[in-house]
């Protein structure tokens, strides 16, 4: 009886939802309200209102600043969950860490990685700092830094890698994305504006455009550094787990 009632209820709910879905505007139709109102509104006013040439950056950091702040908080929470389950790598364990694979990675690969990683890091900085005027931004740049750390750690091992990016630096910078957002938001409040509007109406009205650009870049740098450190810490935590598993 109970099951029949719940089945009926679910069926009714499914029918209702399917009916609503059937009445939604067709996907990708140029006549949709999103295509006729929302997109032209952004494209026409974004550069003037957000002072960023890249409209996408203007949307995710300015119009939808709260949303992006939530996203970086989710990334930070993901790291917290990974560390809660796996734990951070212990310093002693890293010092005693030896590469257990019997084959040392080849000289060619080591030389190439040592040669390429600085260029990859340079490219990531370019991606982060040009995020407001060209494709790119903090998320992409941070992922590139994290990727270069994965390559470096795979070839040179955890000990070398964690000597380059010590635990205390990572611990300090993991929250950089969230902190950057809150810092810029709080500065906006102090400057007489609203949270995350990137404008300080009470202070130096003439400086407004360049101020907005610099604050946007500050948030981008925070997202980039924070994202890179989160990826690196998750990688190190997972390696430590594997090392203990092979040792036992």
């Amino acid at each position: 009886m109970k099951r029949t009632v719940s089945l009926l209820f679910i069926a009714a709910l499914a029918a209702l939802l399917l009916y609503v879905v059937a009445n939604m505007p067709p996907m990708g139709d140029p006549a949709n309200p999103t295509a006729t109102h929302v997109i032209p509104r952004y494209l026409e006013n974004a550069e003037e209102e957000t002072h960023t040439e890249n409209v996408i950056t203007g949307i995710i950091l300015n119009y939808r600043g709260y949303d992006t702040m939530g996203e970086v908080t989710v990334i930070f929470c993901a790291l917290a969950a990974v560390l809660a389950v796996l734990g951070r790598e212990r310093r002693g364990a890293i010092e005693g860490f030896v590469d257990r694979s019997e084959v040392v990675s080849s000289t060619i690969v080591r030389t190439m990685v040592r040669f390429m990683v600085p260029f990859i890091l340079l490219f990531s900085l370019y991606t982060i700092f040009h995020g407001e005027s060209s494709p790119g931004g903090g998320f992409q740049g941070g992922a590139i830094i994290g990727g270069s750390m994965i390559v470096f750690t795979t070839i040179f091992g955890l000990a070398e890698s964690s000597r380059r990016v010590p635990q205390r630096i990572r611990a300090a910078l993991e929250g950089a994305a969230v902190m950057g957002f809150f810092l810029v938001g709080a500065l906006g409040l102090l400057g007489g504006g609203e949270f995350l509007t990137y404008a300080w109406p009470k202070v130096a009205p003439g400086l407004q455009p360049s101020l907005v650009v610099w604050l946007t870049i500050l948030v981008e740098v925070g997202i980039g550094l924070g994202g890179a450190m989160v990826l690196t810490s998750i990688l190190f935590a997972m390696i430590r787990e594997e090392e203990i598993a092979t040792a036992s």
């Binding site: 084959v103 080849s106 060619i108 690969v109 190439m112 390429m116 260029f119």
Partner: protein
């Protein structure tokens, strides 16, 4: 259509042809060592031809410098990847492919 566009188009077509060749080889070859051959060599050649085509199209500009950088990094990293995959396959004693009916006769290879 100017001469520049035609030359650029020819180079891009050559590159695409080698891409198709490399992909076919990757799908059709029997084992990892023979798959490395089309995937690394033809990939590099294909991508470099496309880059040469784009360089011809862009002419003397900053884009040309960027394209040269891309070609350099592509050549370096592609060769290194091929080397790393081949070496680790060799170290892991992944068996070579041999034709079934000749397997008994040619046991001296490798």
């Amino acid at each position: 259509m100017t001469a520049k566009e035609i030359v650029a188009g020819i180079f891009c077509c050559i590159g695409t042809f080698f891409f198709i060749l490399g992909t076919t080889g990757l799908l059709r070859m029997p084992d990892i060592f023979s798959r490395l051959h089309p995937s690394t060599k033809c990939d590099t050649l294909g991508a470099c031809s496309v880059i040469v085509g784009m360089a011809v199209y862009s002419g003397w500009s900053w884009d040309l410098l960027k394209l040269i950088f891309i070609a350099c990094f592509l050549l370096l990293s592609s060769a290194t990847c091929g080397h790393a995959i081949g070496r680790s396959a060799l170290r892991r004693d992944i068996p070579y492919w041999r034709r079934q009916d000749e397997g008994a006769k040619s046991g001296d290879g490798a």
